[in-house]
Assembly symmetry: C2
Homo-oligomer: 493 residues x 2
């Protein structure tokens, strides 16, 4: 079979004609699907989870594993931080904005302490230690990390507290998290069918969604869901066609996914008339080293600074990729580079080095005097511990002195990096837009009315995010609103 | 009746039960609807056009009236320009990009000479004179204007030629254009029903769209379309709800519309499972005076330049509003201000004036030294007729000398301007995203297959635009692809 499967809704057959029956059918066994399946099963519903891959996990299992939580979790307290839901709310509304979903964020913040406890109860391990340095991912098994809360302007909007909660794993922790979530869903009674790709929603009387048609090993399998279908199929970064229509900024860049985030669930629901939301919103990560740029600067193709480099790395990435002319450069001096702890260097070495800024800016193809001007202004203020343009914290401000170096993010991390910057763009990302849902996961139609029997959560839905993103809000939003969707689906008559 | 009308598709009734029958039903009598109605009627179809307002015209009639045309039109030749479709194509792909629709642009450029002639044949008058100065809208009745073709980087990608074709009217020419288009559609045989708001599409056998249900004076009217329905209902800038879901950047800003662009047609089709495209794309106009910024500079809240100020004014507006921290300021010196011809001043006067840049930047709330640095760099290069950062044309480069002035775009145009900048944002715009269509206006479903009997054109559809915009491409795209949709609709069996 070639091309994408048809997505149009299928009319329900006669009762008893389905191959499998359940109360709640969950489509996709990543973090949102596991959370929905757990809660629905725990509420007494008979649950089947479909997963198109050979086993559960999805993109969640390949992720860093950070979960954005706060408001005074046990882990925060263990690390000596006294957080509140209101401070968490104020931060997230700003960091996930502009135009974040304040209603969802409010619920998320108010429920965050309980949600963390739920994860602990499922056996997800967290170490009570803070990793206190700018990074994409701690090289330790520390359980808590900053995700931009202590950087301007966020530190003026809310009392800073670190809220990145990391399962105890060295580097990528998503696998460990998913292991626990999948085990919990199964223990609660959910059954799962792997290698099973849902292709069409089944619609019964009154437009109620009552199941799905799937393909398994080339065969057609029909599932009947007596109460509801929950779509947790992920985003659409792996569909070049959907990217072209909705989020073309990601075309040509790296994909942060398991390769199966093709938007199938979004399309199945949209074929029914479901509304989508913020389909252009994306997360982007620039392969720039936080520990390096925070000690130096990040500049655009014209040598201009444009952000305080101590923000959450995804925020400086978005500021660059979505708004500045590239290529981008991480610029530092020798003293700054030497100051980076070895464990935070990630194998990054200067791409260009020069005794003078005139040499360096010429190497980088910038207008003559561009870097000289930027660094003269930076140094003039840094001498007084100030950054009146972007308000980088004084802890990181120091005049930059020769010799200087520039790092090309297109070369990637790791010892030696790539030899040919043409191989990569230095950018990878995923999509944030999706089905328009209520806080209980009900999928809405073009006029904002719930489509009976249809729920969604995780990246198949538009969650808390406006145009901003913070690490941990995908797993966080996916599991939190996945749970709510699972409970609501199980409650349906 | 309160709230928006329901949009879900309605099943077709028995033959003969409709209140009105036609071959092609056009929904919306703006420029795209008029063009579609004209061509369908000229092809022999019986055509009815529905218009929710009291008469035809829509947002098109309130517009400036510029139509982006080229490739060697008679008007270009009369003004001494030797343009080609390929140069026009190269410009539009860049100016309407990134991610513009190259297939639609190719057709548009190849058909542009004929399209201009068609407008002339309908009686739209154009004067064979070029208005050769940067402006939002010429204060004359000159028929041709530049729309960024002669600015960097576009002048390096294609041989520049002015392509803004303006009907002969002083200031806003959209009314004159619509008068001619409406008269032509009626003369060709199309009938139109005013005060008639289409609320639902009617769907017959095999999912074929076969009409629409409308409201007129509180009553329900059913239209049967034997061949096709063409949606030319405009964009969605007047729906705060749709803006929040898809293009929140426009929330709170001024709307460029007739107040009725509420996305109704997009929602009716989406309720059927139609695909949308680029729903976040917008046009924005900043109330900054092109004649002033081109002689000085446009800076962001930090006093940084970010664009060559001789681009199409919508391009400097987008560069500011979509990518730079505001507020924005037009900065000029006394000599530059005095150099602006009176007719290009539009009543704009300096908001702040100062003998030194230190005073001025303090007035504007910028970091100390911000404007001083920017203008020192600018002047250093301008002395040599160069702008290595943004490549503004040498014609406009001159060192800026005291005394200086800054203009706040939030104050608007016109003598005196607004007294309170809080009254307005200085930004107005409209939406560019809409239904995903083929070049013949067929509306596509979630898998890119045409929905039988359903067409769309104008701002209800996603047209040639990627993330960029140029004046004249709404009326141009709307009439050009409206004609194609009308012809294709009339051809259906």
């Amino acid at each position: 079979m070639s091309g994408p499967p048809p997505v149009e809704p299928v009319r329900a057959g006669a009762p008893g004609t389905a191959d499998h029956e359940c109360d709640v059918l969950v489509v996709g066994f990543g973090c949102a699907g596991a959370a929905a399946a757990y809660e629905a099963a725990a509420a007494g519903a008979r649950v089947i989870v479909l997963e198109r891959a050979g086993g559960p996990g999805g993109s969640s299992a390949l992720s860093g594993g950070e979960i954005y939580l706060g408001g005074g979790t046990a882990l925060q307290k263990a690390c000596g931080f006294d957080d509140t839901p209101d401070d968490m709310y104020a931060y997230l509304v700003a960091a996930l904005g502009p135009h974040a979903d304040t209603g969802k964020i409010r619920l998320y913040c108010d429920g965050s302490v309980e949600h963390f406890q739920w994860l602990c109860d499922l056996g997800v391990p967290f170490n009570g230690r803070l990793y206190d340095a700018p990074t994409w991912m701690p090289p330790t098994e520390d359980g808590l990390m900053w995700l931009g809360e202590n950087a301007w302007p966020y530190n003026t909007l809310a009392r800073p507290a670190p809220r990145g909660h990391r399962p105890a794993a060295r580097s990528f922790a998503g696998g460990l998290l998913m292991e626990k979530l999948v085990a919990a869903a199964r223990a609660a009674g959910a059954r799962d069918h792997a290698d099973t790709l849902a292709t069409n929603l089944v619609v019964g009387d009154g437009g109620r969604v009552s199941g799905a048609v799937a393909r398994r090993y080339g065969g057609r399998v029909v599932y009947r869901a007596r109460r509801a279908v929950v779509l947790t199929t992920g985003g659409f970064v792996d569909s070049a066609e959907m990217l072209a229509q909705h989020a073309p900024v990601l075309l040509g860049h790296g994909k942060v996914s398991d390769g199966l985030d093709d938007g199938g669930g979004i399309r199945m629901a949209a074929a029914l008339g479901a509304a989508t939301r913020r389909m252009s919103a994306v997360q982007v990560a620039l392969t720039a080293l936080p520990a390096l740029v925070v000690r130096g600067m990040l500049v655009n193709a014209l040598g201009q600074r444009f952000v305080n480099e101590d923000v959450y790395p995804g925020a400086f990435s978005a500021a660059a990729v979505l708004h500045q002319p590239g290529p981008y450069w991480a610029v530092i001096d020798e003293a700054g580079y030497e100051d980076i702890p070895e464990r935070d260097r990630w194998g990054v070495r200067p791409t260009y080095a020069a005794e003078t800024l005139a040499e360096l800016e010429a190497e980088l193809g910038m207008p003559a005097g561009a870097l000289e001007t930027t660094i003269a202004v930076y140094n003039r203020h840094a001498e007084h511990g100030e950054d009146p343009y972007f308000h980088k914290d004084a802890r990181w401000l120091r005049p930059l002195r020769p010799p200087f170096a520039a790092v090309d993010p297109r070369l990637g991390f790791g010892a030696g990096g790539r030899t040919d910057p043409g191989e990569a763009t230095g950018v990878a990302g995923f999509t944030l837009g999706g089905l328009h849902t209520t806080a209980d996961g009900e999928v809405l139609d073009q006029l904002g009315r719930p489509i009976p029997g249809l729920y969604a959560a995780g990246r198949a839905a538009s969650g808390m995010h406006g145009e901003g993103y913070v690490s941990g809000t995908s797993l966080g939003d996916g599991t939190f609103f996945g749970r709510r969707a699972g409970r609501a689906a199980a409650r349906r008559p």
